[in-house]
Symmetry: C2
Subunit: 335 residues, 2 copies
């Protein structure tokens, strides 16, 4: 059985491309609200679980010890564009622990934000690990190690105390142990454990509501949600889906993208968690699918709906700026 | 019915992502040699038909009149990386007709070749239409208009003599008329007409062999094939699939990528044409699928097979250079 088509790409009146995938929407009790496609197959959540991976940073007291505010906590949850402000906050986080970019083990890449790449090149610069889209998360990992009095070297390894803590937090929210034989290495070198979409969606429903988390973890989840809602620019960047959606809806929606077409989210007022994956790994389709889910469940004012339309039905423009087509949620998603 | 999985993306022992699609391999008589998935559905061929779109440039005598050699003819078939040598040849083509970049109507974008983008930014420059991956094709279009004594302005429009000639050449090879109600606008603003993969594959079988084309068109097709085989760098660029494959196999393989997961090719010694599309539009998968078809049909020496392996089974490396997985042709393709 193949997964349903979630998103269609239209050009000149024809459907030019099609993205299949699976979507799970689950409430905080674990009851399925919507299941499209194979939601039981384990998928690597990749960066979509960064908000969960940030829990130990808060729970351990490390964030408080180093005086982290909303920007630092949002950046710890980010897949950012490597814009100057992102780099500055990552650097500031490391400085609070008396360290610098040399402590990061995520590798370097040019900023995904094109204007920042061009500006960096124009100034004769080259990218460092601070420009890596995961540098905020990694700065948080380094600070977590330091606050615990552990050697931060090798913090990306599964056996390091940092990754053991992170794994434990995800297992706690998922209500399941993570299997070593379903573990891959992520783009930034940390382990990524495969879990079913239903499990991920349930974890995000709990993360979004605090239900079943206990007092301390519930407070930590609320702190992370508040930071992302207050500083969505630091979760992604200029013009990016996660940033723009959280700017539009504030604390009503938490969304986080992951590589290979994964998207997770929480709709706290509805008590729902969302997890989806496009089979083919396409981010453009995962964004439209997430927009389709938000449109389906979240009550919106007419103004919000109008502002939201460009995420639900993004236009395709060519190099002359001519609108040549667009993306849209397919029937399975839009009911 | 969904199309079969053509390509799998593997990480940590799990299949992380899957690309479905359809493939047609057809001989010059139009007989199907291999058909996977829905090969009758019309698809926009996009840039994959650039070698066919270059036929009027040769047949009209424009290429000869302006003294075009292999580099210019290869660039007229190119989706190039906007590297300095690509820009130089596109500029030279226009200069032969007494024109410059201002005649191009393809729009501007930063070079897809990252080092060229960085170098351009570092020098304080900005991209022009010459950096557009289609600038060689468009320079050819402009020259075709000029050689015919036509006003080149508006050469991207379907009703201009240039696009009428291009459409006629594709119809001649496809053996079918192109329907105005299945026409989209391409990234570079010219029309793209949807045709079934079987028709595209048949057109490439004829293009690769000359069979059924008549003397003049057969000679023009051979001239284009020879130019691409002699100067594959000008068909794509540094490290790119089309360039590397044609460097490896010379005139034995003609391959051309198109946007949205399309790939066309010819295996002249076998009399075969190939056309494929990944449903989701992914280039990474279209490349591996084309490699799978080449591996299945083209006799190779052990040396060639060893050199070819990185296209058939490309590794995925993360930002630290660690191999974390790879792509591979799925069962449907590898038999």
């Amino acid at each position: 059985m193949s997964n349903p088509v979630l998103v269609e790409v239209v050009r000149g009146g024809l459907v030019e491309s099609r993205h299949r995938g699976a979507v799970a929407v689950v409430d905080a009790d674990g009851a399925s609200v919507l299941a499209l496609g194979d939601v039981a197959r384990p998928v690597y959540p990749r960066s979509a679980v960064k908000p969960l991976q940030a829990l130990p940073l808060i729970e351990s007291g490390a964030a408080e010890r180093y005086g982290f505010g909303d920007q630092e906590i949002a950046l710890a949850c980010a897949s950012h564009g490597g814009e100057p402000a992102h780099v500055e906050v990552a650097n500031r986080m490391l400085a609070r622990a008396g360290l610098d970019a040399s402590a990061l083990e995520c590798g370097a890449h040019w900023p995904s934000h094109q204007a920042s790449t061009q500006a960096l090149a124009r100034s004769g610069g080259a990218p460092s690990a601070l420009h890596n889209n995961c540098s905020g998360k990694h700065a948080g990992f380094v600070c977590l190690a330091c606050a615990a009095g552990a050697d931060h070297h090798g913090y990306v390894k599964a056996e390091h105390v940092v990754q053991r803590e992170v794994r434990g937090a995800i297992e706690g929210l998922a209500g399941a142990s993570l299997s070593a034989d379903q573990c891959g290495i992520d783009g930034c070198s940390i382990p990524t454990w495969a879990v079913p979409l239903t499990t991920l969606a349930h974890a995000f429903a709990k993360f979004g509501t605090g239900q079943g988390l206990g007092l301390e973890r519930g407070k930590a989840a609320a702190r992370i949600r508040a930071a992302c809602a207050a500083q969505p620019y630091f979760v992604a960047g200029t013009g990016r889906f996660c940033t723009e959606i959280m700017k539009l809806f504030g604390a009503r929606v938490l969304v986080k993208t992951g590589a290979e077409g994964v998207f997770c989210g929480a709709l706290p007022e509805l008590g729902l968690g969302v997890a989806l994956k496009c089979d083919d790994g396409a981010t453009r389709a995962a964004e439209v699918a997430m927009a389709g889910i938000i449109a389906r469940f979240l009550p919106m004012s007419d103004e919000e709906r109008a502002a939201f339309d460009r995420f639900l039905r993004p236009a395709l423009r060519n190099w002359n700026g001519i609108e040549v087509g667009g993306l849209r949620a397919a029937e399975a998603l839009s009911q």
